[in-house]
């Protein structure tokens, strides 16, 4: 059976620290664009932390929500691409073939999660910052779309290592950069086709939901909702 890679995000563990955000940039050669371009909405973040703010002072509630490509089984970005640059791999990844991409940006418009980013110009690493670039990940040039790959280079490396030792991949052997960095272990990656994987087990939690699941995108990312129901009671009791 092929793998079916997925991620579980425990919103009760996520603290909004953004270690995942920087780890992703470091791993995947995601460029910084500088203030002027960032002000034009051209900053690139394969993973970001959204915040939902609810209520007014002093009854304010915030929820953090790490958002990245949901690797949807019914991905809206795929059918709109005229060059099949956005396509589905056999193990369920929503992949982006950079040298097929001609930059129509239809996929970005189709994606309801706003996780696809366009390279409006060639990226710059002022020397010697370029020495940090990860040789396992291609640097994207002007005119192509990019987004979270579930750290496909790490998946491939683990598969090759397992094959060399003639054994199946172990659960937990593939860890994307964001999940590896996360101090509170809010991100768990694994094979959803393996019922014993930690990701599968957590995805079966009563707290598991999909982001915008109602759109029918069939994401492979699960969000475990935050708990803590007695907050409202506390408020009503006091004020």
């Amino acid at each position: 059976m092929p793998h079916r890679w997925g991620m579980v995000v425990d919103l009760d563990r996520c603290t909004g620290c953004e270690a995942c955000v920087v780890a992703c940039r470091a791993e995947n050669n995601v460029p910084t664009v500088g203030e002027a371009e960032a002000a034009r909405g051209r900053a690139i973040h394969w993973i970001r932390v959204e915040r939902y703010v609810d209520g007014e002072f002093p009854d304010v509630r915030v929820k953090f929500l790490p958002v990245f490509c949901q690797h949807c089984d019914a991905a809206p970005c795929e059918p709109v691409c005229p060059t099949y640059a956005s396509y589905h791999t056999a193990d369920g990844l929503n992949a982006q073939v950079y040298n097929r991409c001609i930059g129509t940006r239809y996929c970005a418009n189709a994606c309801p999660y706003t996780v696809r980013f366009f390279n409006f110009f060639n990226p710059v690493w002022e020397k010697p910052l370029h020495l940090q670039l990860n040789p396992d990940v291609s640097v994207r040039e002007v005119g192509v779309m990019e987004k979270c790959t579930f750290c496909v280079q790490r998946i491939k490396a683990a598969e090759i290592a397992a094959k060399a030792e003639d054994r199946p991949l172990r659960d937990g052997e593939v860890v994307p950069a964001c999940a590896q960095a996360c101090p509170s272990r809010a991100l768990v990656f694994g094979d959803l086709n393996d019922p014993d994987s930690e990701a599968s087990r957590l995805a079966g939690s009563h707290r598991a939901t999909h982001l915008l699941g109602e759109l029918g995108t069939q994401p492979k990312v699960f969000y475990l909702q935050r708990e803590g129901g007695h907050d409202r009671q506390d408020r009503e009791g006091d004020q």
Partner: protein
């Protein structure tokens, strides 16, 4: 590196090109990947120590082959060598446990920063102008040696001084011992967001001058007074790891978390109950909670007898802290106080934390003692799910005896205020030579402390830092350190684990530039000075000194290491040394002692009518106190609560903003008795109407191409009020006024979900 350049420059290769500062050739482990063993595309992992903050997280560095343009023996060239590609947490390390915070992830940019200083520099322009000319190491070191010899000739030894960022371990000790052997006073430390108030309070309450460690993973109820313990405070990685377990690590048990603070921090945003409180009244609230528990018999006064007894009125059940009285002072409803107290009493183990702004008031010491007393009432001290102190495993340099004196570890430090007065000639001895290591008080100290003027009085300043910043541009001579990845490293965390921990690491890669490890430079200077200084510092290199210190630890405490040589090998393999067994340190705590402590009300600078708002500067998620503002990854990190990048902002409550006619992004002027600044407004519901807040970190005059002249520095508004017990700056005690100036600009990261436009960023 393009091909043309590659062909033009000569290739300087091989291990033979290593600098002399890299240690003995006969040392047992090979520190650099020998070039021939580099396999293209295959990564090697080496331990290191994160330099980002005081947490001292253990790091693993992913090293791969790369072509680096380097300088070797004064010659430019390209070397195919192992270069660092990515930092991860070291899974074996008890503090980081395989994880890192965002700043630790970005620390790799310290090494590859395009504006890093790559060779010694001598000032040619006016001080502060940043005009320097390059110098070779021999000349640079003799310049400093001559200056020191001149002091020696005039028997003016005491006029040498050192000012550093907080350092620990052998690096700190080498500096301290150098000063001591030369005949100067101990080094001074400058840190804006200092926790010294809490250390002193812990000394009084528990006999331990140390920051506490919290056993959050086993707690069922956590109440934090102002501590951003999941973001920037103390040991955020270790604390976040334990927090994740506290929430979802135990089947059927989910710990509750309450945050008390007037402005919602990243940590506070995760709370089940967020309790805004009047600035400076956190201690009163803590004692209000203790009062209810004592009154209702939810806890007995004896459970916290010694620690609680420090508080005036303890034996009588804290009569002055009844809920109604506490409500009047703190602004927290009496019913809410009662409810929180019963929850605290019921959901054991419960633990209280204090950190950040509550300590930075003029009554910070009282606030800390009050929260310590609450912990005593909760019976959380030294208990599972409570607070404790990390066992100390300091590695120290062996004593060196000579006929005239004994050079040992000078433990103390000289207060920064004393150093300031000395520099300004207010008290003796004056300062004629100042050694400066990465402290930036020109940026991070209040104007009224007149740091520039003080520095101007010092005839000769030497900086060892890797960057030109607001303070190091005053240096006459710059002897740049290696980056942490190119150098030996050591640190001794004071908090974050219940095991004793020392972090030690060999260089992960060879130096890119013509820099030298500061510890090695000091040892070289000691050699050249000769006499008692070289006797006191007999080590050939920082590596030698580290080995001597590490081999002095008790090998028996570690299961895998039988001899001292084993310890040294083990330390290099795993990136440090830590005890195997979990130790209970509660027995080491002494009983509290001293006169009882009365309620202290906070004082504020600025008249309430002229300056109607409390001003709250806070350590920013990206830059902490500003020391990481030069990293482009940190500049482009969207602040998690505002999504702002590349700038500063002023947080204002919506009702206040409406009253002032201010909308999101408008330019506002914030003014205190000390000065004024302008920054765009960020309208946020998570802040009290009478408080305005600003992140610290931007507003550097000089700090590389990425941070110079960017944003505003809130420290410029701070009045020089201090917390009297520790002498540290009361950085939360300034009042300000706010007025709209016009349209401003705030760079936000768009993000958001089109399908749910209303719910996301505000």
């Amino acid at each position: 590196m393009d091909r043309r350049n590659f062909l033009k420059t000569s290739t300087v290769g091989g291990a033979a090109a290593a600098l002399s500062s890299c240690g003995h050739p006969e040392a047992p482990l090979v520190r650099f990947l020998p070039d021939e063993e580099l396999v293209p595309g295959v990564a090697t992992w080496k331990p290191s120590v994160c330099p980002g903050c005081r947490a001292g997280c253990g790091v693993l560095v992913r090293v791969m082959e790369g072509d680096a343009e380097v300088i070797r023996n004064g010659q430019h060239g390209v070397v195919r060598m192992g270069v660092a590609k990515k930092l991860e947490g070291n899974p074996e390390h008890p503090i980081s446990q395989g994880r890192l915070c965002p700043r630790g992830q970005a620390a790799i940019q310290l090494t590859y920063h395009p504006d890093r200083l790559g060779h010694p520099l001598e000032r040619v322009g006016a001080r502060g102008s940043g005009e320097y000319k390059p110098l070779d190491w021999d000349a640079a070191i003799s310049t400093l040696v001559e200056r020191l010899r001149a002091l020696d000739d005039r028997r003016a030894h005491a006029t040498l001084a050192a000012l550093t960022r907080p350092l620990r371990g052998v690096r700190r000790e080498l500096i301290a011992r150098f000063l001591q052997a030369f005949g100067a006073g101990p080094p001074s430390v400058f840190e804006l967001f200092s926790d010294d108030v809490l250390r002193r309070a812990n000394e009084r309450s528990f006999g331990r001058r140390q920051l506490p460690t919290f056993d959050l993973s086993r707690a069922r109820y956590v109440i934090s007074f102002g501590a951003d313990f999941l973001g920037t405070w103390n040991s955020p990685v270790a604390q976040s790891a334990a927090y994740g377990e506290m929430r979802q690590g135990r089947p059927g048990i989910r710990g509750t978390f309450v945050q008390v603070e007037p402005r919602m921090s990243q940590t506070g945003a995760n709370a089940d109950r967020w309790v805004p409180v009047r600035p400076g009244t956190e201690g009163v609230l803590a004692l209000g909670l203790a009062h209810v528990m004592l009154q209702r018999g939810l806890a007995s006064a004896s459970s916290g007898a010694a620690v609680g007894a420090l508080i005036d009125g303890w034996d009588a059940g804290l009569p002055a802290y009844a809920p109604e009285a506490v409500e009047r002072e703190t602004g927290v409803a009496a019913r809410r106080i009662a409810r929180l107290a019963s929850e605290l009493a019921a959901d054991r183990p419960a633990v209280a934390i204090i950190g950040g702004a509550p300590l930075a008031h003029t009554n910070g010491f009282f606030n800390a003692i009050a929260v310590n007393a609450l912990n005593a009432v909760l019976d959380s001290v030294g208990r599972p799910g409570g607070m404790r102190f990390m066992p100390e495993a300091r590695i120290t340099l062996p004593e060196v005896r000579s006929e005239t004196s004994t050079a040992s570890s000078a433990a103390r430090e000289q207060s920064f205020s004393l150093l300031r007065d000395r520099m300004r000639g207010v008290t003796g001895p004056g300062v004629e030579v100042l050694l400066l290591y990465d402290a930036n008080p020109v940026f991070a100290a209040p104007r009224a402390w007149r740091i520039r003027e003080a520095l101007a009085q010092v005839p000769f300043i030497v900086s060892f830092g890797s960057f030109l910043d607001d303070t190091s541009t005053f240096a006459d001579l710059i002897l740049p350190d290696h980056s942490f990845l190119e150098s030996w490293m050591d640190d001794a965390p004071e908090s974050g684990s219940d095991r004793a921990v020392v972090s030690v690491a060999a260089p992960a890669m060879r130096p890119l530039h013509d820099t030298r490890a500061t510890a090695d430079v000091l040892l070289e200077i000691a050699r050249q000075l000769g006499g008692r200084v070289s006797t006191a510092l007999p080590w050939h290199s920082y590596e030698d000194a580290l080995r001597a210190a590490v081999q002095s630890v008790d090998a028996g405490a570690s299961a895998d290491a039988k001899t001292s040589a084993d310890v040294w090998t083990l330390v290099q393999q795993q990136g440090g040394w830590w005890t195997e067994t979990l130790e209970s340190s509660s027995s080491e705590m002494k009983r509290a002692a001293g006169a009882s402590i009365r309620r202290a009300t906070p004082r504020f600078d600025g008249d309430e009518t002229e300056y109607p708002f409390h001003f709250l500067p806070y350590p920013s998620q990206a830059f902490l106190d500003g020391s990481l503002a030069h990293l482009p990854w940190m500049q482009e990190l969207p602040d998690v609560l505002s999504t702002a990048m590349w700038g500063t902002w002023v947080e204002i409550n919506p009702r206040t903003a409406e009253r002032l006619g201010v909308s999101q992004g408008d330019l506002v002027e914030v003014a205190s008795s000390q000065g004024r600044l302008e920054a765009p407004a960020l309208v946020s519901p998570g802040i009290a109407p009478d408080v305005v807040a600003m992140p610290v970190g931007q507003g550097h005059r000089t700090f590389t191409r990425y941070a110079s002249g960017r944003g505003a520095n809130p420290v410029a508004l701070l009045a020089p009020l201090v917390e009297p017990e520790s002498g540290t700056l009361a950085w939360a005690a300034t009042r300000v006024r706010v007025a709209r100036k016009g349209r401003g600009r705030l760079t936000l990261f768009a993000g958001g979900l089109r399908e749910r436009p209303g719910g996301v960023t505000r």
